[in-house]
């Protein structure tokens, strides 16, 4: 449904996308996961025909993003990162406006947005600018869906949104997927990866991995030991000083530890930490999650990151 072929894009000296290729199947819920500045928005804007690539090509539903941009706009829905509705129009006016722009009506496609719109309908006379964050998000999604698009592109819909609203939003996406809408959604929250069929991990304009979350984590090369004790700060420092330590990073109430080889046993860490006067020590092997993988892939890429920052400064 979405085909991206060797797309590159630069802004002056900054290369935002470096020969990106990616295919997304019909009906797929596909995540684009990476931190700020990774290139997520640039890629989405190219797909939405709002930005021209420097090289490479892409098709949306078989249509070329450069030559057939008009047709694409009728078939796709887009929710940009910034709230982009008319703040001084009411909820209902916004919806009717977007429907009329696409030559349709609210009534005609009501069944598609019903479940989402239902939650904000009691406030349909309220100005969009006066809605809470979670409601704005629901209205924006309703507006992006009003012309019954085949493809939906959502740029960081959950950024800055609290954990509860984030969860509700993903439940809505799952329901849209059942209606055979292909969805590409970007997020900086790694834990949201597991809610997608497949994800592309992106950093510095390059895709690090593309696969299902379970396939990605199963390829993690090392073993991870989760460790805790009563003093988190000292625990991280002590683990990093351990002679066979590769990395030690906080993950919620635990520290995820990887050794320089796969022979470090949890019991070995327990003994070492007891020697450092830690109390209530726990250490056991666990399966890696997407964030572990991302950090591993990032650290291999690390020197390049710093190098780039310096190149830009010399301008």
């Amino acid at each position: 449904m979405i085909k991206i072929n060797n797309i590159s894009k630069s802004y002056k000296a900054t290369q935002a996308l470096k020969e990106i290729s990616l295919e997304i199947q019909k009906g797929e819920l596909h995540g684009l996961i990476g931190p700020d500045g990774a290139g997520k928005t640039t890629l989405m804007r190219i797909l939405m025909t709002l930005l021209l690539p420097d090289s490479g090509n892409a098709q949306m539903g078989g249509l070329d993003v450069v030559k057939e941009y008009r047709k694409i706009r009728r078939k796709t829905g887009y929710m940009p990162g910034r709230f982009s509705l008319y703040q001084d129009l009411s909820v209902e006016e916004n919806l009717r406006f977007f429907a009329s722009v696409f030559g349709t009506t609210l009534e005609e496609n009501y069944d598609l947005i019903r479940e989402i719109y239902h939650q904000i309908e009691p406030f349909k006379k309220r100005r969009a600018g006066d809605l809470s964050g979670g409601m704005k998000q629901k209205l924006a999604l309703s507006c992006a869906l009003i012309h019954r698009p085949q493809i939906l592109i959502l740029d960081e819909p959950t950024t800055g949104v609290d954990a509860v609203s984030r969860q509700e939003f993903w439940e809505m996406l799952k329901k849209l997927q059942e209606k055979e809408i292909t969805i590409l959604v970007s997020t900086p929250y790694m834990d949201e990866a597991n809610l997608c069929d497949r994800v592309a991990l992106i950093q510095n304009g390059q895709l690090l991995e593309v696969d299902s979350p379970s396939n990605i984590t199963s390829r993690f090369p090392g073993k991870i030991i989760k460790v805790r004790s009563d003093n988190m700060h000292r625990l991280i420092a002590d683990l990093r000083r351990f002679k066979k330590a590769e990395s030690a990073f906080a993950f919620g109430q635990y520290v995820h530890f990887t050794g320089t080889d796969n022979k470090v046993e949890p019991s070995e860490l327990e003994i070492y930490l007891a020697g450092c006067n830690h109390e209530n020590i726990e250490a056991e092997y666990i399966e890696p999650d997407i964030e572990d993988v991302f950090m591993k892939l990032m650290s291999t890429d690390k020197e390049k990151v710093v190098g780039e920052g310096e190149r830009q400064e010399k301008e």
């Binding site: 990476g34 931190p35 500045g37 009691p122 809470s132 409601m135 919620g252 920052g309 400064e313 010399k314």
Partner: protein, 246 residues
């Protein structure tokens, strides 16, 4: 233990809307205090009051030992503030930013130079002294932004979503800095939407609809709400029908 923040029955009303509904809590010296809540729960309003930018409608509030109504300027001098959205001036150099913030926070001119040299040494950024912020890697920017926010050795630093959108390694390195500051006796008051970060706090408060619904250590909260992690605790407290919130 020394109290750095004392909030007693604080109310903030905008017209008929009660943004902060009788808040009462203390924050102690050197503590890492997580200030959580759903969007619109009233966190920003409370932080603005604690930073001396807005007066409460009623209640007693002391920050760094100063009364928020009568000693607002002293409060401002004894706190630091940093957010992801606003921290350093991108088109000034590293050195200019340090001097600028040193001036803003009232560090005497003579000391500023010395502080700048010490800070650059500590951060190993001496060679980047005359480089513009805009070209620096994100990790450096964050380190520097945090360091200038505590350059004047405030009793407390407010961090408003300091790690939003930041990559997972940089995000964790940032928490290393928070731990360091706390070990030096600086109180850290932090908001975040990453629930794993709530686990790193000494104590956490969770706001909902203008009230503090829960306040305790992460371990105790997990026990009270019978949850495996802070994400579950948060969702139990903050998940209510949208309609009710209006």
């Amino acid at each position: 233990m020394e109290k750095i923040i004392e909030v007693n029955d604080m109310v903030k009303q905008f017209g008929s809307f009660i943004a902060n509904d009788h808040l009462t809590f203390d924050v102690y010296k050197g503590e890492i205090f997580g200030f959580l809540g759903a969007n619109g729960a009233g966190k920003t309003t409370a932080i603005r009051i604690l930073c001396g930018l807005s007066a409460p409608t009623s209640g007693d509030v002391k920050v760094a030992g100063f009364d928020i109504y009568r000693e607002t300027e002293k409060v401002k001098k004894n706190i630091g503030y940093m957010s992801q959205k606003f921290s350093l001036y991108e088109d000034l150099t590293v050195s200019e930013n340090i001097r600028f913030y040193g001036g803003i926070y009232g560090i005497p001119k003579k000391e500023r130079k010395k502080k700048e040299t010490e800070l650059l040494q500590k951060l190993e950024m001496e060679e980047a002294r005359d480089k513009l912020i805009v070209g620096l890697p994100l990790g450096w920017k964050q380190k520097l932004a945090f360091s200038v926010a505590i350059l004047h050795q405030p009793k407390i630093v407010f961090l408003d979503e300091p790690t939003g959108g930041v990559d997972p390694i940089t995000r964790r390195r940032f928490w290393d800095l928070i731990y360091e500051a706390s070990a030096d006796g600086i109180t850290v008051f932090v908001t975040t939407h990453y629930m794993d970060e709530a686990e790193y706090c000494n104590r956490v408060s969770i706001m909902d609809e203008g009230k503090i619904e829960a306040l305790d250590t992460p371990a105790a909260l997990k026990q009270t709400y019978n949850s495996a992690n802070m994400d579950e605790v948060f969702i139990q407290i903050a998940r209510k029908p949208e309609a009710k919130k209006q």
